[in-house]
Every structure is written in C-alpha cells, then in structure tokens.
C-alpha cells in the first residue's frame, strides 16, 4: 500500500472547539509550526511537523474547530475543504485525528462519524480523560474502538499524556478506513448516526444522568448574574485597562531610550546630510512610533488570552450579547471590538469567529471607532490644553473616558443603522455559545499566541509604516530650500505647500494651515501628528516626550491668526479632538479591512464615511459653537 515516500504524510486534526485540539497540536509540533498572521481564535489552518517514534516526519494540519461538516459557517467549510483535499496547495490528508472531549462524547462523536463517513483513515484522540473521570464517567476505549472501527487513544493533551501512544497509532501500517456500519440502519443518515452514538455512549461512556452542580456553576451564579455579573465584568475590564496602560509605561520608556540611542549612534557615524536625516528622523522616529505601542498591544493580548483560556470570555460574550443587540450585533462581536481598543488591526482579524457574514462586515466597519492606542499621543497633547492643566490629573482621565465612551456609542449607533440596511442574513444565525468550565489558564499556549500576534503586528505595521515614514520624510524634505530654519524649510517643502492649499479647507473647522498639514501627515499614522506639530511649531525634540509636549502646548497657546485672535481656543481644540476620534487615519487598517471583508469597496467607503463624518462633526461643532458665542 505505501512505500515510504519522500514527502511526509499529512495528518489532519479535527474536532469541536474546546476539545483541546490546539493543545494537542502544540504538544505534537512544539516549535515546529507555522502560524498565520493575526489569527482570530484558532480559525486558521496551522501546519507544523512532528516525528514518529521511528523518526519519520509527519506534517500536521490543525483544522478550524467545528461542530459538523455541514459547512454552515466559514470554519466548517474550510475544514471540509481540507478533508477533501481542496485547500490550495494541500492534498487529501493521509490520516485524520478526531479530537474529542471524553466528557462530552454524545456531542463530539457527531463530527467523528461524519469524518469516518468520508472514507478517510481515522484515529480517535479521546482527550480530557481527567475531566471525564472527575465527572464520574466510565469510559471503555476498547469498546469504542471496536464499535467505531478505528483506533482509540485515551489522552490528556494539556498534561502531555498519551502523546506517545497517539504517535504509535500514526505510524505505518496505517489503520484502514472504517466501514461506518451505522449508516445502513435507517434511511435517514442523521438519525442513524444519532441512534448509534446514543447506543455507543450507553455502552462505552456511561454518565451519571443527574445534573451535577460543579464549581464552575457556583462561580457562574455570580459571574452570570444579571446584576453582580455585570458589576464583576466592569470591574474586571477596568482593571485590565488600567493594568495595560500603567504596566506598559516601563517598557515604553525602554523603547524610547533605545530609539534615542539609535538616533544618536546614527548621528555619530554619519555627518549631517540627507541620509542621516532620513534614517534618524524618518525611519527611527516613524518606525519607533509603531514599536512604542508594542508593550500595550502585548499586554492587551496577554489579558485577552488569559480571560479566554480561563473560560471567562464566553461569560463576557454572554453578558454583552444584550448590549450588542442594541447595536444590531451579537455577543460574538464583543471580543474583536474590545481588541480594537489596543489596535484595530488584530480586532478586525478577530472577526473571523463571527458566523453571520453581515454581522461580521458591520463589526469590521465600526472597529476603528473604538479609539485605538495610536490616538493616545494626540489625546495626551490636546486634553491638558483643553483643561489648562498639566498631564495626569483625574479630570483628564474623566475626559479620556468620555472620549472612549463617545466613540463607542457612535460606533454602536452606526452599527445599528448599517446592520438594518444590510438586511437579514440568508441563514439567520442565532446566539449559541458553549460555556466551558472554568480552568487554569494554559500559559504556554497564551505566550505562544501573544508572541505570534505581536510579531505579526510588528511585521505588518512595520513594513507599511516604514515605507510611509520614508515617503513622509521625502515630502517634508523635498523640494529643498537653502534656509537653515527648520520651520521655513518645512513650509517650502511639498508638504508645506499642501498645507497652504489645505488651509481654506480646514479653516472652517478651526484649524490653520500648519494644523492642516499635521493632520495630513497623521493620515499616514496618527502618532505622527505630534511630531509634525512639533516641527511645524518649531519645537526641538528632546529626550523627554512629556516635556516636549508641554513646550509644544505653550507654543500652541501663543500662536495666533494674522488678525491676532488665538488659534487654539477651547472650541477649536474640541473640534480637533472630535476629528481625530472619528477620522479614518490608518493605511494599515484600511488594507486589513479590505482583505478581511474581501472587498476594497468596503474599505473605501469606510474611509470616506469616517473621514467625511469627522469633517462634518468638527465643522458643525466649531461653527455651531461660534454661533453660540464660544
């Protein structure tokens, strides 16, 4: 049947979500796996390699978790395609390992039977036997194997028990595909399957019938309570946010020091000149601006991973479902939107877990209005100016909270309207969520997850932002003028000229040409706004970011229009804040939105709508405010 061919055999892992499939995959492949970028919660097909005890190489595919092969959701379709060899670049797997939760056979065997019916050789990985034992289940793997016609390997993947036995089952000679004896019982295949599973579980997986209250249930009595549950959830999320923003400060300080050291080093090996300016001002500053947010992103993913792994996220989605419904969405949109507070890019990618295509599109559309962390430098610049105080007071925190709340509220309103206009789904997806028992978080899984996403973020944003920083530098530098004054040179450069053109456009919003220019540069990356403003308003950048901003603020307060009125009145500041809240200023996000929604049109309209909305709101607020006498 099989000569030891050159190409490694392909093993596919399939199973329900929460069956421990990915834990098994990690245990098998260890460091030898390739992951897609920004995966949602294991929705992609990961591939990796492992070795049999005899040293033969095997390729392992981790298929998306699914409940059946009916292909009613994107996950199931991908899994089915994979099993049929329809994945681009992949052939039919040589063997399928069906991972099931031993304490849940009645539900998990459905998928196994369907896979066996496809005629593929299978092995049943009877995972989580420890949980089964604890719930009082009596398992009979031998009987299971006999009835199903395939090898059955009891295991506990998170304790790495049973891995060796599983590998034994994977070696040559391969198990034959099972006969699928149940399919002939009645005329309806589904009924036959169900009857077979019911009988099988009676024989080989007897469970005590009575419902037992578990520790998880007791915890849920509080955490799922309509009142206490909500309070708990607010507390948990506030703590998470606070922890992210405060813990991140230290590594952010390191990164800034590193950036400065790098700039200094460049300054020491190159004389003054274009290349030095490009590298030190363009590249280091531009890319550094992205890398600076890495600590926050890592922390956010860490906390999300923790919440998910412990099982809490499902409870949060359940509680949030009612709120999400007001926005026309479901609880499944909660996690992607929550992630968008750090950065919309992974948030948009996390929407892959949403079954409803239309819910998904709407979630992607509104994600950028969850104020991302790139807007923070802008907020930190403007808010103290507005409140006329130093950074860090509680009033500021309140205003910041108000900004986040307003952004989120606006997003929900738009979501509701948009969702209504998109109409009903072809197959309405109703809320259906498994609440896994609470368990200790699996750290190795979380760390790997965080690392992957952080790397992907750095690579993706870094390449786009690197390129944009270079182009931005070019716009700021060319055409050149002989003047030694930085602000003059800037005014005469391409971007300065653009600023002059732009002034009439932004003046109704309360901005002058320099601000208009800075806003334009912020379309490349929001963080760049503060640096641009510093340059345009003649502030030398020093090591102390806070101090720079403070000096910049002083300059801003002093600047006046030609007729002597101050430019930065509270009204114009509010107008500026609103603009940054609502405008779509992130090329990288637009690119990801286009890819995830499958349509450049969707991304285009998102940009047009959001930026147009920002313009209108700023306009209305500024002009309206002036009319009212502010």
């Amino acid at each position: 049947m099989s000569n030891a061919s050159e190409a490694p055999s392909i093993i596919a892992l399939i199973g329900n979500p929460n069956a421990g499939k990915t834990t098994l995959f990690n245990a098998l492949t260890g460091a030898n796996q390739r992951v897609g970028n920004y995966s949602g919660v294991t929705v992609e097909v990961k591939s990796g390699e492992t070795f049999t005890p005899h040293g033969r190489k095997l390729r392992v595919l981790d298929l998306p978790g699914c409940y059946s092969l009916r292909a009613s959701s994107p996950d199931e379709k991908v899994a089915l395609d994979a099993l049929n060899g329809l994945l681009p670049g992949e052939s039919i797997p040589d063997l399928v390992v069906c991972v099931v939760d031993a304490s849940n056979l009645e539900r998990h065997l459905q998928l196994t039977l369907q896979v066996i019916e496809l005629g593929l050789p299978c092995v049943l990985a009877l995972n989580m036997v420890d949980v089964a034992e604890r719930t009082g289940l009596r398992l009979d793997p031998a009987k299971l194997s006999e009835e199903l016609g395939i090898p059955v390997v009891p295991m506990q993947a998170n304790a790495r028990r049973g891995i060796v036995e599983l590998k034994q089952a994977l070696r040559f000679p391969r198990p034959h595909a099972s006969e699928a004896d149940w399919s002939h019982e009645t005329s309806d295949l589904e009924t036959s399957r169900r009857a077979f599973i019911a009988r099988l579980c009676e024989l080989a997986a007897r469970r005590p019938e009575a419902h037992q209250q578990t520790l998880s249930d007791k915890i849920d009595a509080v955490l799922l309570h309509p009142l206490y549950g909500w309070i708990a959830m607010m507390l948990i999320f506030f703590t998470v946010f606070w922890a992210i923003f405060s813990f991140a400060q230290i590594p952010m300080g390191w990164i800034k020091s590193g950036q400065d050291a790098l700039s200094t080093w460049i300054g020491s090996i190159l004389q003054e000149g274009d290349l030095r300016s490009l590298l030190a001002d363009g590249v280091v500053t531009g890319v550094g601006g992205v890398v600076t947010f890495l600590p926050q992103i890592i922390l956010l993913f860490l906390f999300i991973g923790l919440l998910e792994s412990s099982g809490y996220m499902a409870r949060a989605a359940y509680l949030m479902d009612a709120v999400m419904a007001k926005a026309g969405l479901s609880g499944k949109s909660f996690l992607p939107l929550f992630s968008s507070f750090a950065c919309a890019i992974p948030g948009v990618m996390a929407t892959r877990t949403i079954d409803s295509a239309k819910d998904r599109l709407v979630t992607i559309f509104i994600a950028p209005w969850m104020s991302c962390s790139a807007r923070l430098p802008v907020y930190f610049l403007i808010v103290p100016l507005l409140l006329q105080s130093k950074e860090g007071t509680w009033k500021q925190a309140l205003v910041l909270f108000g900004i986040y709340a307003l952004g989120t509220l606006s997003a929900f309103v738009v979501a509701r309207v948009l969702r209504g206009r998109l109409g009903e789904d072809i197959t309405p997806g109703h809320f259906l969520l498994e609440l896994p028992p609470y368990r200790k978080p699996q750290w190795s899984y979380i760390f790997r997850h965080v690392f992957d996403r952080a790397m992907a973020f750095v690579k993706k944003a870094g390449t786009v932002i690197l390129g944009l920083s270079i182009l931005l530098w070019a716009l700021k530098t060319y055409p050149k003028t002989p003047s030694a004054d930085k602000a003059d040179a800037l005014a005469n450069s391409a971007i300065g000229h653009i600023g002059i053109v732009i002034e009439p456009v932004v003046k109704p919003l309360g901005f002058d040409g320099r601000m208009g220019t800075a806003i334009l540069t912020a379309f490349a990356a929001r963080e760049v706004f503060v640096s641009s403003m510093s340059i345009l308003y003649r502030v030398e950048e020093s090591d102390n970011e806070e101090q720079d901003r403070s000096i910049l603020r002083d300059r801003l307060i002093e600047s006046k229009w030609p007729d002597g009125r101050p430019i930065f009145t509270p009204l114009s500041l509010i107008s500026l804040l609103l603009f940054f809240m609502y405008a779509m200023q992130c090329a990288a996000t637009t690119a990801v939105v286009a890819r995830e929604s499958g349509s450049w049109k969707w991304a285009f309209w998102q940009f047009v709508f959001m930026t147009g909305f920002a313009y209108l709101v700023s306009l209305l607020v500024f002009q309206g405010g002036k009319l009212l006498g502010f």
Binding site: Q33, R34, V35, G36, N37, V43, E44, V45, K46, S47, L61, P64, P74, K77, V78, A82, L87, P88, G89, E90, L270, Q271, E272, G273, D274, L275, R276, S277, L278, R352, G467, I470, L471, W473, A474, T477, A594, R595, E596, G598, W600
Partner: protein, 42 residues
Amino acid sequence: MNSDWQTFLAAAVVVSTLVVFAVRLARPKKKSGCRKNCGCGK
C-alpha cells in the same frame, strides 16, 4: 561621508520605496492570496 553621497542615497531609498508601494498596490491579489483561510501558515 560626503553630503552629496548622502543626498543621492537618500533619494534612491525614497524612489525604491515608491516603487515597492506602487507594485504592491498594483497586484493586491498576489499579496497573500487568502481572503478566506487558506492552507498552512503564510
């Protein structure tokens, strides 16, 4: 390190960046190929 040499090199970097962007914009299909999840890794 002559200033002219720097000017030239900096300009070269800018032009190459423009080219890379133009190329990437012109063929978005090739980029990752998967709107839906496709097989293994990248």
